[in-house]
Symmetry: C2
């Protein structure tokens, strides 16, 4: 029999809570026999949603919580004071080993702070890193770090490269993933102080396939599999990606609705265009893991629908099966 | 009679040199009576191109140069050793006051290094800043700095905000331009050390319309007119903008060519889509000025066609007429 995986789903976090979170959790247990889901949050609200579905009841559990951390709350304070929130209770379960992982679409800052403060870091990892998957022309790349800890040092970036490699290879199945560092030019002598300091360390680092500097221009074409950068740059890349994509798609759609002629044209290209744009949507790869913690914490988009929640739960399953944290520990031991 | 403006065009720089450079220069003198162009580069090659057009000969001058700085050459060395290159000779003319401005589509690093080393900075400006205009959904924004000087300090960023404001207001005609600083969240307490240090300085800075932090996600929608950031982030933003835009447009075009049905649809939407994508093309605003120098240095895309060259020359004209450098000096005096 396969190993069971226990995943907490923060049922109260995100724009579509609890409905889409519960639906996503139900779909995950329906899809994979080995998944056991624990929904944290308001029992009544969760039960109302659960009543809509038929599912294996022995693999869906509710842990009632009386509090919710809102999206706009200051993270540190929220984690400290709302001990009975769906997020904090869920993180505590991961810490205690009562669950393997937690998926939350809630307050990003609180997830990052809580993940570090409650679940705790793998020994030797100085900074956990948030590593979303971004779409590229022919697949996807892992962008690490987009977390809350800005102003990282060079040795942190080396750990990001190692953790990102382990994740891309063993969770997303990319053989010998190409690791690049975000830089302002392709030449080794270019860059800011941090990049110049990190570059030789990555070159020397065994166990990763370092290909050198990558320019932001080449990221969407899929120039490498693991994109290493400091969190400020990572955040800019992640958000600009969404921003430029969103604006361009909005403009293209506007140009299709301009007049009768373009509307007829739009009808003819609709399905092909839709398929193309779907390929350029990172949410199909699940949420962003916070790598380097003793358990797995996955942050999904605040606007996540059931599908992304289900995918994120499957992602937790692969993460556990592939023993990613053991691989990360091996990297640290080899250093 | 209007004031004459003398603009050097580096006829040998860029992918389309000298043909498009010469053509752009000719179009500029044909368009505006007050423009005098000096083409630096190989006399024979330039004359061959000039022979294709009829134009006011008294306003087009050639200064022969025996050398060319190639795109891939290390900038500092190129500027130091190639004294008779079309770029260095042109920069020297600006320095000596024989020309008001220079437009080059050549080696970016050499333009930045040469601009600082040869033309020289305005007294009080510690770092000149490269400030390209990027397209937004409803217009454009100035992104400052995208230059070669990474790891800037907070007071440099304040000067970038002042120079960028002067440029947006007086060259691009944006009244009371909104200045934002690139950050990883909208709240004042967020950011890396540099942003946290710069934020209060921008708040206190008189003469600019500081609106606070802007997230990269909101840049394409046109959240502010002057986007202030350190050069590493600026470079990432500029290049990712091009990269995501290029990849998405390529994917959309691919989806249009998929089968007969989509091809018919494509024919119906073609002109509307083309117009939309044209609006999202920054090159219509000319090249990127290197602000803070005693004369004006404008860097255009390496792939510039005649139209961008002409626009860049007109941009130099407005820059001089509006006495941008005097406005920048006034800002410095007020500090």
């Amino acid at each position: 029999m396969s190993e069971t995986i226990r995943v907490v789903v923060d049922a109260m976090g995100g724009d579509n809570a609890p409905a889409e979170l519960v639906k996503g959790a139900v779909q995950a247990v329906q899809g994979h026999d080995t998944i056991h889901v624990i929904l944290t949050g308001d029992q009544d609200a969760i039960n109302t949603e659960l009543a809509k579905y038929s599912y294996p009841k022995d693999r869906v559990e509710i842990v009632h919580c009386s509090e919710v951390i809102q999206t706009a709350e200051p993270p540190v304070n929220a984690i400290r004071t709302k001990k009975d929130s769906s997020l904090v209770v869920g993180l505590q379960m991961v810490k205690k080993g009562e669950a393997d992982a937690i998926v939350s679409a809630g307050n990003s800052g609180a997830i990052l702070v809580g993940g570090q403060a409650i679940v705790g870091r793998i020994k030797g990892i100085e900074r956990p890193a948030l590593a979303p998957v971004i779409p590229t022309e022919n697949g996807c790349s892992l962008l690490i770090d987009c977390g809350a800890n800005v102003d990282a040092k060079s040795h942190h970036l080396v750990q990001f490269a190692q953790m990102g490699s382990a994740y891309m290879e063993h969770v997303l199945g990319v053989k010998n993933p190409r690791v690049g560092i975000v830089n302002i030019g392709a030449e080794e002598e270019k860059g800011n102080a941090l990049v110049k300091e990190t570059f030789p360390l990555l070159k020397e680092c065994s166990g990763i396939n370092f290909i050198g500097s990558v320019e932001a221009r080449d990221i969407p074409a899929g120039v490498c599999d693991v994109i290493v950068c400091e969190a400020f740059a990572g955040n800019v890349i992640l958000k600009l990606y969404e921003g430029v994509g969103g604006t361009l798609i909005h403009m293209v759609k506007g140009s299709l609705m301009k007049n009768l002629k373009t509307k007829i044209g739009a009808a003819l290209i609709q399905s092909s265009l839709k398929e193309t744009l779907k390929a350029f949507d990172g949410s199909q790869y699940g949420g962003a893991p916070l790598l380097g913690l003793k358990g797995l914490v996955v942050k999904t988009h605040g606007s996540s629908k059931a599908r992304e929640v289900t995918t994120s739960i499957y992602q937790c399953e692969t993460f556990k099966k592939q023993r990613i944290n053991e691989i990360i520990r091996d990297y640290l031991a080899a250093d």
